[in-house]
Amino acid sequence: MGVIQVQEPGLFTTVQDLGREGFGPVGVSASGAADGISLRLGNRLVGNAEGAAGLEMTLLGGTFQFPDGAIVALTGSDFGATVDGAQAALWASMQVKLGQTLRLGPTRSGARCYLCVRGGIEVKLFLGSASTHILSGLGGHEGRSLRKGDMLKIGSANGAVPERRLSANALKHVLPRKVLRVTPGPQSDWFPEAAQRMFYESRYRVAEESNRMGIRLEGGAVLEGAGGKMISEGVSLGAIQVPDGGQQIILFVEQQTTGGYPKIANVISADFHCLGQLRPRDEIRFERVDWETARTLLREQEELLASEELILG
């Protein structure tokens, strides 16, 4: 069984899988990869189960040495990866040889890049998941983001895997959108028509303070209907809350499980992975779709992810 030596952790690198679902009654949110599609595809490229744990890097990648070598794949955004100085391809599996070093830099596209390793990253599971939950310091590697000098275990895997890459058609479909599709939120009727129109016509900027708990927006504040007095209730992933002051927050993977602000809309499940690629200062818009469209888009996305033509050997 091999290891990964963390020579540089990057800005904020955590162990993530597809999260832990089902612990709402004790207030534990699902967590998991911010761009679940990139993690799933990375795992398939190296021959893992889709939900194996990988490393999620944010804005600036790390430097990782592989004393025993490994089969790896990088997915998501382009962080200018090299292996011992030679350029490393995104969306393809590759062999890192004994003692080689994988180095990533600042992003050239979106917010997150995933490093998947054949065998997965092995950590002690918390509530059935390897995902790091930063706020509570639970899960992942010691409940925190990686530090210089950390040593990560690679899980065991049998058999060789052929070199694989993602098909051009698949790649086109997973490119993150900047126009996010939404369905109405449970309090959308609290917002007068003019406020709703403004919400759907405005361009929003992703604020610096955004993180895995919530993506804070700037611009197009919805004042009428904002922060209304409501009784706290369970909140969904991708819910767009409008607190007092009207500046929206999109609840994200490490979200609070309940909240007391009205929600004007909810990002559709098929676009969740796009949220994970939003960088501070990115500009986004919202487009309303009906329930049936949201369902169809999710089904089509899952069909594409399940299709054989997705991965080329």
């Binding site: 709402g24 009654p25 509530l127 509570s136 209730e233 609070q256 499980t257 559709i268 329930w291 949201a294």
Partner: protein, 234 residues
Amino acid sequence: MDTSASEGARFQPASDQSLLITFGTEISLTAHQQVMKLLRLLQSEPVASVRNLHPAYCSLLVRFDGLSISHGEVEAILREYLARLEEVKLPEPRLVEIPVCYGGEYGPDLADVCALHGISSAQAIELHCSATYLVYFLGFVPGFAYLGELPKELVTPRLATPRRRVQAGSVGIAGNQSGVYPFATPGGWRLIGRTPVAMFRADREELSLLSIGDRVRFAPISAERFAALEKEWA
């Protein structure tokens, strides 16, 4: 045949994979009982395709797998569950006592709370410890219990500007609620004390010290007792 529970319940899609069931438009023990009964029934007889449940004061958010079931289908199943709520027996509530060291560095807002209400800190502590609180639900972060009701004399609005970091174990009040921060997180409740007891631990079977429906009482302790207990819990 619909029972009152089913008639009074309101169903709303909250997202493309979740449905919100609301019992009434205000916090009441009756509504909360219905939330707890529906939660209990869904936990003892899980519905395939339902992935998560988020109870709150008078609502339950049901998260489901949108590929295998629709809002309408989930609603139909839940209506059948609602029709059976009367047969659900809730367990006798547990009474959990939480030791708290009040004021000073442990409760930096206690003095302000006292000033707002024109009472002494001894009176404020006595009031906070006089009530038996109901755990309405756990939410916000792992193990954070929403406790009600605070004695009327202590009802205080939350801070205008939330703190960026609240120490783990801090006991806060906001409106007519009280709660304990299990982790160091941002928070806008007024902090009146701190408990050395771990509210949430990944290494014990009962992850959260408190569960929905529990009863809670606070008991004042000295700084010395706090230090001793903190060692015990570490």
